[in-house]
C-alpha cells in the first residue's frame, strides 16, 4: 500500500486537520435543535434526559463516524491509493511477431504463423492488465502495429490480423526497433518477446541479441523445404532469337535432396534437369532455347514441401524484335554488308523514287537524296544536297581532317581515338538544339537534332562514309551503331529478366554505368526508390512486384515474385528465455483503488446526508415498535 501523491506524514496531517474541522462543524451543528410547539404542557411533564450527561456524549455518533470515514476514503482516493507491489506496475513490453515468408509454411493445422499468433496471444494474456504492449511485425522491414497500450482487445486484433509476407526476416532491424521503442518509452521496462522462426535474411543476424529478450520459437527443427531462389533469362548477344536461362534451386533442408527442375516456354516443355543438392547448398540448371515470340516462361521443381510458394515461378519474355531500317539509296549493295552484320538490324532497301515519309520501319537512311516530304520517323541523312539539308550547310570542305569527336554525346562513344581523312565534306551550321558529333577545323560534319515540333530525331553526316577508305575504318560501323542506337534506343535495348525473392534486391552494374542514367520503375510506371553502392543497385520491394531498371542500352526486369527466404539461422544466446513465462511470473501489479474509494466516500456522505442532514428527505422517526404502538393508539384515539 502506498500513496502516489502524498507521503504518509502529509496524509496523516491532512486527515487530522480535516477531521478536526469536520468534528468542530459537527459539534456546532449538533447544538440545540429549535422547535416551535403548540403547547409546552406535555413537554414539561415528559421525562427529560439529563442535559449535562448528554453533552458529555456525542449525539448521533454514527453521523460523525460516517463523515470521518467518508473523509478518510476521499483523502485516500485523492492520494491515489494503490494496493500491491509498485515495482510491477505498468511495465512496457514489445512483442516482435515474425511475419516473414517462412512463416507461411504449413505445420499440421494451419501455418507456422498461426502457431506464432497463438503463442503471442498466450503471452499477452499472462501479462498483468496494467502492463502496456507494443506489437511489431517483423519481415524485410519492421513495422510497429500498435503503440504501447494496455488495450488487450486491440493487441489481440492486431495479432490476429497479421499475415505472412513475401520477404525474408530482417531480425536485426526488428529487434533494434523494439529495443529503442522500449528504451524511449519512459516507463518501467519489460521484455522484448520474439515470436517466430529463426531463419534470417542476413548473415550478421545470426548472433543478434538485445537485453531482456525472450524467444518463443515456433518453427520446427526439421525442415524439408527446397525452393527456387532465382531464375535469370538473358538474350544471347550473338543471335537475336537465342535465350539463355538459368534456374537456381536451394536446399533449405538438413539432408541432401534430389530435385527435378522443369522449364516450359509457352506450350513447349524442355527436358527436365535433375539436381542433387547437399544441405544448405544451391544448384543451377541452365537452358538455351530459341524463340522470337513473346510468352510465359515457367520454371518449377517437383518438391512437395511445406512451402509451395517457391516451387514455381513465371516470367514474361518479350518478343525478339529487330531494328528495321529503310534505306533510300541507289547503291543498296553498299549498305547491305554494313547493316546485316548486326543480327539485331533488318534492312529494307528502297529506291529514292519510292520514298515515303512514314515507311514500315523504325529508322530511315536518306543516302544523298532530297526527300519529297520531311520524314516522320527518325532519319539518318548522308551527305544531303546542300540546298535541302535540315541543318544549313556552311561550306564544302575538301581534304578535311576529322579531328574532333564530341565525347559528351553517346553518338561519339568510342570514336575519339583516331583522326579521319575526308576527301570532301559538308560543314554544317548548328541551329537551335543541334549537337555537333564530329568536327573538322572548320566546323561540324556530323550533327544530331533531337525531336521537336513534330519532327523526329535526325542525324546528318556531311560526308559519305561508304566511299573510299572510310568504309574500311573501324570508326564507320561504330558510328553507325551509335547513330542507330541513338535514333531508336528502344529497339536495340538488350533485355535481362530475373525472378528472385521479394524484399531487398541487388543488381550488379557494369563498370561505367551511371546511376544518373537509370530509371527504376514498377509495373505501373511509378518510380521505385533505389541506391547505388559499391557497383550494386539496391532496392526494396515489400510486396510481390515487377521492377524495371531501364538504362539507355539495356533493360533489366526484376520479377520479385518468389518468397524471400532467409538462408541463415539465428542462434539466440543461451541466456535468453525461451518459453512462455509461468503464470504469476510477472507478479501482481498494484491495483488502483482510488475510484472505488471515491465512490465509497461519496456514498458515505450521501447516506449521512440522507439520515442525519438538516434538509434530509429521510427524517428521524421513532423506532418501528414505537411507531406501531403510536399508530395503534392513534386509531383508538380517533375511533373511540
Amino acid at each position: 500500500m502506498f500513496f502516489l501523491n502524498l507521503s504518509l506524514g502529509e496524509f496523516l496531517a491532512l486527515l487530522g486537520g480535516l477531521s478536526g474541522i469536520v468534528t468542530a462543524l459537527y459539534l456546532l451543528d449538533r447544538t440545540k435543535r429549535k422547535k416551535v410547539v403548540s403547547s409546552l404542557r406535555f413537554w414539561v411533564a415528559a421525562p427529560r434526559v439529563d442535559e449535562q450527561q448528554r453533552r458529555k456524549r456525542i449525539r448521533e455518533p454514527w453521523s460523525l463516524i460516517l463523515q470521518l470515514v467518508s473523509l478518510l476514503l476521499l483523502l485516500l482516493a485523492i492520494g491515489q491509493l494503490e494496493w500491491g507491489s509498485r515495482e510491477n506496475a505498468g511495465r512496457n513490453h514489445v512483442i516482435v511477431l515474425d511475419t516473414s515468408s517462412w512463416m507461411a509454411r504449413s505445420s499440421g493445422k494451419g501455418t507456422i504463423l498461426d502457431a506464432a499468433k497463438k503463442r503471442a496471444r498466450d503471452y499477452a494474456r499472462r501479462l498483468p492488465a496494467s502492463d502496456r504492449v507494443m506489437l511489431i511485425r517483423a519481415e524485410g522491414i519492421a513495422t510497429p502495429v500498435t503503440a504501447f497500450s494496455n488495450d488487450r482487445k486491440q493487441l489481440l486484433r492486431a495479432i490476429d490480423a497479421s499475415k505472412a509476407s513475401y520477404a525474408a526476416l530482417n531480425l536485426k532491424s526488428a529487434l533494434t526497433l523494439a529495443y529503442h521503442a522500449l528504451k524511449w518509452s519512459n516507463a518501467q521496462t519489460g521484455e522484448i518477446v520474439f515470436v517466430g522462426g529463426t531463419r534470417v535474411a542476413n548473415w550478421d543476424d545470426e548472433d543478434v541479441s538485445v537485453p531482456r529478450l525472450r524467444v518463443l520459437n515456433v518453427a520446427p527443427e526439421q525442415s524439408d523445404d527446397i525452393g527456387i531462389r532465382r531464375v535469370s533469362v538473358t538474350r544471347d548477344a550473338s543471335a537475336n532469337d537465342l535465350w539463355l536461362a538459368s534456374v537456381a534451386v536451394r536446399n533449405y533442408a538438413k539432408s541432401a535432396h534430389t530435385v527435378r527442375v522443369a522449364l516450359q516456354f509457352a506450350s513447349t516443355r524442355f527436358a527436365p534437369r535433375t539436381l542433387t543438392l547437399d544441405p544448405g547448398t544451391e544448384g543451377e540448371a541452365e537452358y538455351k532455347f530459341t524463340t522470337t515470340g513473346a510468352g510465359t516462361l515457367t520454371a518449377s521443381i517437383n518438391s512437395r514441401d511445406d512451402l509451395p510458394l517457391d516451387d514455381r515461378v513465371q516470367l514474361e519474355l518479350p518478343s525478339a524484335a529487330r531494328l528495321r531500317v529503310a534505306v533510300y539509296s541507289n547503291r543498296a549493295s553498299a549498305w547491305q554488308p554494313l547493316l546485316e552484320s548486326d543480327p539485331h538490324v533488318q534492312g529494307l532497301y528502297l529506291p529514292p523514287s519510292q520514298y515515303s515519309a512514314s515507311p514500315p520501319a523504325d529508322v530511315m537512311i536518306l543516302d544523298g537524296i532530297t526527300p519529297s516530304a520531311a520524314p516522320l520517323i527518325p532519319s539518318l541523312w548522308i551527305a544531303p544536297p546542300r540546298d535541302h539539308s535540315p541543318a544549313p550547310v556552311a561550306t564544302i570542305q575538301k581534304n578535311a581532317l576529322l579531328s574532333h569527336w564530341n565525347a559528351e554525346t553517346p553518338l561519339a562513344a568510342g570514336l575519339h581515338a583516331k583522326e579521319l581523312h575526308l576527301n570532301e565534306t559538308e560543314i554544317f551550321q548548328k541551329v537551335g538544339g543541334d549537337t555537333a558529333v564530329a568536327l573538322t577545323d572548320q566546323g561540324p560534319v556530323v550533327v544530331a537534332r533531337t525531336a521537336s515540333d513534330g519532327n523526329a530525331r535526325l542525324v546528318e553526316i556531311g560526308f559519305d562514309p561508304l566511299y573510299g577508305p572510310l568504309k574500311y575504318e573501324v570508326s564507320t560501323p561504330l558510328l553507325f551503331g551509335n547513330i542507330l542506337r541513338w535514333l531508336e534506343p528502344e529497339a536495340l535495348r538488350t533485355t535481362e529478366l530475373t525472378a528472385t525473392g521479394v524484399g531487398s534486391a541487388s543488381v550488379l552494374l557494369d563498370q561505367g554505368e551511371s546511376a544518373q542514367k537509370f530509371r527504376v520503375v514498377d509495373e505501373r510506371g511509378f518510380a521505385v526508390p533505389f541506391t547505388v553502392r559499391n557497383g550494386m543497385l539496391q532496392l526494396y520491394a515489400e510486396h510481390p512486384s515487377i521492377v524495371k531498371i531501364i538504362a539507355p542500352d539495356r533493360e533489366r526486369v526484376l520479377s520479385l515474385t518468389l518468397p524471400g527466404i532467409g538462408t541463415f539461422h539465428w542462434k539466440p544466446a543461451s541466456t535468453v528465455s525461451r518459453d512462455l513465462p509461468a503464470a504469476g511470473w510477472f507478479g501482481s501489479s498494484a491495483v488502483d483503488l482510488w475510484k472505488w474509494l471515491a465512490v465509497l466516500g461519496g456514498l458515505g456522505l450521501l447516506i449521512e446526508w440522507l439520515l442525519f442532514g438538516k434538509q434530509r428527505p429521510i427524517r428521524w422517526r421513532p423506532s418501528s415498535v414505537l411507531r406501531r404502538h403510536a399508530a395503534r393508539d392513534e386509531r383508538e384515539l380517533v375511533e373511540r
Partner: protein, 297 residues
Amino acid sequence: MREPLLDSSFLERLERLTLNWEKSFPGLLGGHNPSRFAGPGQEFLDHRLFHQGDDLRAVNWRAYMRLERLFLKMFQVEPRVPVRIMLDISNSMTAGHAQGEPSKFEVSRRIAAALCYVGLVRLDTITLQPFADKLFDPFLCGGGRHRFQPAEEFLRLLRPHGKTDFFHAVRQFNTEYAQRGLLIVISDFMDEQDCLRPLQYLADFGHELHLVQIWGGEDRVPSGKGELELTDVESGDVLTLGFDEESLKEYTARFDRYADEVRSFAQRNGGRYASVPAGASLEETVFGSLIRSRSVV
C-alpha cells in the same frame, strides 16, 4: 380566484346529513329529528333536492313535471334550537402539524364550514363564534343553503391570533348567549390552564357540548430528539430539554391520556367527542369521525 373551503361535490354529499343533538331544550322546537319539519301551512322557505327517505308529500310535483327532477319543499319553522360553533383561532392552531399536513387552523375552518352547511340545509340557525383568549365577532346565519356563501366568506377571513384562554372565553360566552342550545367546540384544547373546568361551566349551564379535538402529527408524536429548544407558539415561553425515545413514548402517552380526559368529559356531560388528526381528509373527518361520534347523522 380564491379556492372555496368546500367544493360543490362535497357540499352535495353534505346535504343528506343532519346535525344531531340529544337534549330537548324547553320552549324550542327541534332536538329530535322527526319533529324537525313543520306540517302544512308553514311558511315556504326553500327547495332542496329530494333524497331517498324524504317525505314524498313534500315533493314539488309541479317542478317535477317541468324539470323532471324531484325537489322537496321546505318551510320556515320558528323558533329553533340554536346551534353555535365555537372555533378556536388561537396561535396554537397554527403549530404542531407534521410535514405535509394542513395546519389545525385550516382543518378547523373547513370542519366549521361543513357543519355550518349541514345546519343551513336543515334550516338550523348557526352562530359561528371564533375565540382565543376572548370571543371575537360572531357570524349568525340561517335560512337555507343559499346563506352559506357569507358564512364561508366569514370563515375564510379569519386569521389566527391570540392565546388560548377557555376560562375567559367561556365566561364571556355565558354572558352573551343566554339561550341554551347545541354548542360545538372546535379546538386543539391546548390551554396552559385547565380547559375542562370552563367547559364544565358550559355543560352545567345547559348546553349540549360537542367537542371536536384537532391535533397535528407533531402534537402527538413529535419528531427530533436530542437537545431541543422548545418555544411555545402562544406564550413564547422557551423550554430546553433533552429528549429521547423513552421521553417520546411518555410524551405520546400523556397526550393520549389528555385526549381521553376530554372525551370522558364530553361523554360524562351528555355530549359528543371527536378526535380529528390534522392529516385526515375532510371527508374522512365528516363521514368518519363526526358520524361515529354522532355529532352528525
